[in-house]
């Protein structure tokens, strides 16, 4: 529909590039269209992130390509990510994955072709998670967690999609009762409000909007945040909910020492992998060098842009965009995850929830 | 009113349908045993129930045949579905319908082979000429109209058109 404007801008950019003698990267995306595949339905958390980037990224990439976001939904992200993985590795197709989709690819879920080893992150955004308890747990402090009587019901959607909350429960050693069949986290929150579920983990923005009012009226209490893990393996508070203890801190208060063992190692891997990536935009790492350089340059310019920052503040709800060195850290964390911990995670998922994995 | 032939044909076809459903139910029971518990129980119960109702219906039909009672079927089956006229219930009507279904399948095959645009360009005149002997000006008009519609849907609603295996370039 707007055929002329981008062309004009491209022209201007090209002339500018020529006159300033910018590197050849400026030409790679000239007149091209970048397609960002979003393998989730429109309107979700990962989708809004993908669309935010799609709206702003194009004008900052040298060559001013048109960037379009495209939802390819189906099978919990499998259809779209498989479509992406079969696409041409020319840097013109990108993927917006959620943290859980990354983890699925990482653990090797049935039917998923995506291999993170072939990919390079372009930009990402984090999102924390917080666990709450219903008042029918009948405790007054989160530190009494281990003394809860009765059925500790936990709603299960797709087990891998809840992995950070499950690993946290494993770390505490709580005997919980899984309730399968929920369609999504929104459904589990409603059942939690009814008192059908006793523990419930929500993303921090959803927690702040929907669970905090319940805490105020006394039907729920905050238990712990999943939080983040710094480079030395220490817990870091969730920036969007800095007052809530993280799970390892709560563990330390209860037991007088930091958690240890395989569950804790798994927690360290999972917390960052899931939470650092509400959305990650990936490109193939064997896409042309100039394409990847142009994308990185585009992201660097985009995050400095005031208009982008204003739009991002509304959508990211208290978190910062991850670009540049932060991305290298994500990739490094993926590579550093110990094999035996991944095996432990797979075994735990298989034993408790009968999830099968295809090893790569 | 229906003729006896039509009634008999309809009864046979219904028996066939119920038998097919029963076979599917058996297949479900057969294959579901390999599933995880939480994925197995519901299909098993539903399939057994299906089998039960199929047996009930087949029994009823057999009884009816033994009695030779056709009176109750004279009105046809009065279900809450869009009615079909008697003449279409006979063998000729069925054949005619299947013929049209074959045309539709042909359209589908063309779409898969050549993509939506070319398939429409070929299918519409073919159907209207070979099957209905219509005026070529009408089919031309319909093709042009459809292409315009597809173009508009693609440009303004962001719809995507099925591409074919063979990519033949088109106007849009």
């Amino acid at each position: 529909m707007t055929m002329n404007a981008p062309h004009l801008r491209t022209l201007v950019a090209a002339t500018l590039a020529a006159s300033l003698a910018l590197p050849v990267a400026a030409e790679y995306y000239e007149g091209q269209t970048i397609r960002i595949v979003i393998p989730f339905s429109a309107g979700g958390g990962t989708d809004t992130f993908g669309r935010l980037i799609a709206t702003h990224l194009g004008q900052h990439i040298p060559g001013n390509p048109t960037v379009i976001a495209e939802n390819a939904t189906g099978a919990g992200g499998l259809m779209g990510s498989n479509e992406f993985f079969r696409s041409e590795r020319d840097g013109l197709t990108l993927l917006t994955a959620s943290g859980h989709l990354n983890l699925r690819a990482f653990l090797g879920l049935e039917g998923l072709e995506l291999d993170l080893n072939d990919l390079e992150p372009v930009v990402a955004a984090p999102m924390g998670h917080i666990t709450a308890l219903h008042s029918n747990a009948n405790i007054s402090e989160a530190t009494e967690l281990m003394g809860i009587e009765g059925r500790i019901t936990k709603g299960i959607t797709d087990p891998v999609g809840l992995i950070e909350s499950i690993v946290a429960l494993e770390m505490f050693g709580l005997e919980y009762r899984p309730v399968p069949g929920f369609g999504g986290r929104g459904d589990t929150r409603l059942a939690f409000e009814r008192g059908e579920l006793m523990v419930n983990t929500q993303s921090t923005p959803a927690f702040n909007a929907s669970v905090v009012p319940l805490i105020e009226e006394g039907t729920a209490m905050a238990a712990y945040a999943i939080g983040f893990i710094d480079a030395d393996g220490n817990p870091v508070r969730d920036p969007a909910a800095p007052d809530i203890l993280t799970a390892p801190e709560l563990y330390e208060q209860i037991h007088g020492e930091m958690p240890s063992g395989e569950a804790w190692e798994a927690y360290k891997v999972v917390a960052n992998l899931v939470q650092n990536t509400r959305g990650t935009i990936w490109v193939f790492d064997d896409a042309p060098e100039e394409a990847r350089a142009a994308l990185r340059a585009g992201v660097d310019a985009m995050v400095m842009d005031d208009a982008f920052q204003a739009a991002a503040a509304d959508i990211l709800e208290g978190y910062e965009i991850i670009s540049g060195e932060g991305l290298d850290q994500i990739k490094a964390e993926l590579d550093a995850a110990p094999t035996e911990i991944l095996d432990w995670l797979r075994d735990m998922m298989t034993e408790k929830f009968e999830v099968t994995f295809t090893q790569r | 009113m229906q003729t006896d032939d039509t009634t008999r044909l309809q009864q046979r076809l219904r028996t066939g349908f119920v038998l097919a459903v029963a076979l599917i139910a058996i297949f479900v029971i057969w294959t579901a045993s390999g599933f995880r518990t939480a994925a197995r129980l519901f299909p098993l119960y539903a399939a057994w129930a299906t089998l039960g109702f199929c047996a009930l219906e087949l029994g009823r039909q057999a009884l009816q045949r033994v009695r030779g009672a056709q009176v109750s079927d004279a009105q046809g089956v009065d279900t809450a579905d869009i009615g079909v006229e008697a003449e279409e219930m006979g063998l000729d009507g069925l054949k005619r319908g299947l013929g049209i279904y074959a045309w539709v399948l042909g359209y589908g095959a063309l779409i898969l082979a050549l993509g939506m645009q070319w398939a429409t360009v070929i299918f519409v005149p073919a159907l209207l000429h070979l099957r209905f002997r219509s005026d070529w000006r009408v089919s031309l008009g319909i093709v042009v109209g459809l292409l315009a519609l597809m173009w508009a849907l693609r440009s303004f609603l962001g719809l995507r058109l099925p591409p074919g295996l063979v990519s033949v370039p088109f106007l849009f």
Binding site: G44, G74, R194, E196 | V77, T79, L149, G158
Partner: protein
């Protein structure tokens, strides 16, 4: 509250926001008329443009779409027997036979006037119930939802006329087909055999198009002629339809209330609402002989309900952030784009916004149905055009609509397969509506069964609301059986009189 109501109205009266609302209505009518496309498609279309837009204008355009779709999707349902979107499946049952009798304009008039009243009642109900909605919604736990799905299944008896066993078998086929793909309670892809397309199971839109659209296209083409088998007589215009609605005003009110209520219960799946209402109107009617053959009440009931539904599904969406339908899931996402977090706090902190939504809903409903009413006269002339000229167009649009689901080869194959199934069933007198009901409810029954059992063991059976709904199911099934007995007796008597006549 009154302040907010007026403030909300004033905010919406801004010319830009009103024009966005009208744009939404226009898009909604367009995607509603095209079979296979629905509110979800329309909203997804405008979503990219919402970034950076004035939030109230953005909400207006989305609500405009949501409100107009259930009105406009009546066109294909009535005129061609093709469900325009998942909300107008049951309208086919009586609206289409009316069109075939040459009364398309009347059916449309009745449908749109019922839609308008239903939609406005839905908006009113949303206003009135906002303070009480939370306790009501919280009353429905997993066991109660399970009973509601069973209530839906017990409609099957009513929907299968004088051969309940055939109907039940059809419903069983629906249940079995609904099990293909990911199981709700276990990580298992049933009967998918590694085909990723089947992991999600069959899409309801494609199943409905296959079962109803393809058979109609095939049969009409095979028979030749036009959709309407009679030329229009006098007094078959849309004003008659409006009069029909007015003389059935309590029916409209009753079904609007049902539409709002069922829509407000999250997790029930709003696609079942029109079948529930159709089944209910048939059960309650004294003279049932014309249902399925063109009884205008069979048009009014589902149409009033499906517009009122939008008011209902907004309640859980706004109050709990739990989408009541897939289109509402998208609406929820759009609210997040504007930095609005739905939830109980919305009512406390941003009541003005809630009223902008309610006003948009009411105004969009009125304008949407008015536009549809105006379009109904010219569009219903299509039913007199030789069908062979319409068929290629409809076929092309149906295929395009089905293809938008996942844009996968499987979409076309599924459409073809369900087309054959639907055509076969139609030709041999197997009722199709029960199959659709079984298909929609299959995953829900299984899901709530596991959830109820996991949470309460078998104690769930003793919950009071569970017993109330169970009693309702019994009444419904008995009501259906009594009706059938009456119909059967009528048939026997008729046969007897015919017999004596022959004897003479």
């Amino acid at each position: 509250m009154w302040d907010s109501m007026i403030a909300g109205f004033m905010m919406l009266m801004d010319p830009f926001r009103m024009s966005m609302l009208m744009l939404g209505v226009a898009i909604g009518i367009l995607v509603g008329i095209l079979p296979g496309l629905g509110g979800l498609m329309g909203m997804a279309l405008v979503l990219p443009f919402l970034f950076g837009m004035d939030p109230y204008a953005g909400i207006a355009i989305l609500i405009g779409i949501a409100a107009a779709v259930p009105s406009a999707d009546t066109f294909p349902s009535v005129l061609m027997g093709i469900p325009g979107s998942s909300g107008s499946q049951a309208t086919v049952m009586d609206g289409y036979p009316m069109a075939r009798k040459g009364e398309a304009a009347r059916a449309l008039g009745a449908a749109f006037s019922a839609s308008m009243i239903g939609g406005v009642l839905g908006a009113l109900a949303l206003t009135a119930l906002v303070p009480f909605a939370r306790p009501i919604v919280l009353m429905f736990g997993a066991p109660e939802l399970l009973m509601l799905t069973i209530l839906g299944l017990s409609m099957v008896g009513v929907l299968s006329g004088n051969r309940p066993v055939l109907g039940i078998i059809a419903a069983c086929v629906g249940l079995l087909l609904g099990m293909v793909g990911g199981a709700p309670a276990a990580p298992e892809y049933r009967w998918a055999y590694g085909v990723v397309y089947l992991f999600d199971g069959f899409s309801l839109v494609i199943v409905a198009l296959g079962l109803f659209a393809l058979p109609e296209i095939i049969d009409l083409l095979a028979k030749g002629g036009s959709i309407a088998r009679r030329q229009p007589g006098l007094g078959t215009g849309w004003m008659d339809g409006v009069r029909d609605t007015l003389s059935n005003k309590w029916l409209v009110v009753r079904h609007s209330v049902i539409g709002v209520t069922v829509g407000a219960i999250p997790g029930m799946g709003s696609s079942i609402i029109d079948w529930l209402n159709y089944g209910y109107v048939v059960t309650r009617a004294k003279n049932k002989s014309q249902f399925g053959k063109g009884d205008v009440r069979g048009v009014i009931a589902p149409e009033a309900a499906n517009n009122a539904r939008e008011g209902g599904v907004l309640m859980p969406t706004l109050l709990f952030g739990v989408p009541g339908s897939s289109a509402m899931a998208l609406f929820l996402g759009a609210l997040l784009i504007f930095g609005i977090q739905p939830g109980p706090s919305l009512l406390r902190d941003d009541l003005d916004l809630v009223f902008v939504i309610i006003w948009s809903l009411a105004i969009a409903n009125i304008f949407g149905t008015l536009i549809c009413l105006m379009l109904s006269r010219p569009i219903s002339r299509l039913t007199f055009v030789p069908f062979r000229y319409i068929a290629p167009v409809v076929l092309c649009i149906v295929i395009l609509g089905a293809w938008q689901e996942t844009r996968h080869l499987g979409d076309l194959l599924t459409l073809a397969a369900f087309g054959l199934l639907g055509w076969t069933m139609k030709r041999i007198g197997m009722p199709r509506p029960p199959l659709l009901v079984g298909f929609i409810l299959s995953a829900l029954v299984e899901r709530y069964l596991w959830m109820s059992y996991s949470i309460y063991d078998w104690e769930w059976v003793t919950r009071p609301l569970v017993m109330v709904i169970a009693a309702l199911c019994v009444v419904l099934v008995l009501g259906g059986t009594v009706m059938k007995a009456r119909v059967a007796r009528g048939a026997v008597e008729r046969a007897a009189t015919e017999g004596t006549r022959h004897a003479d």
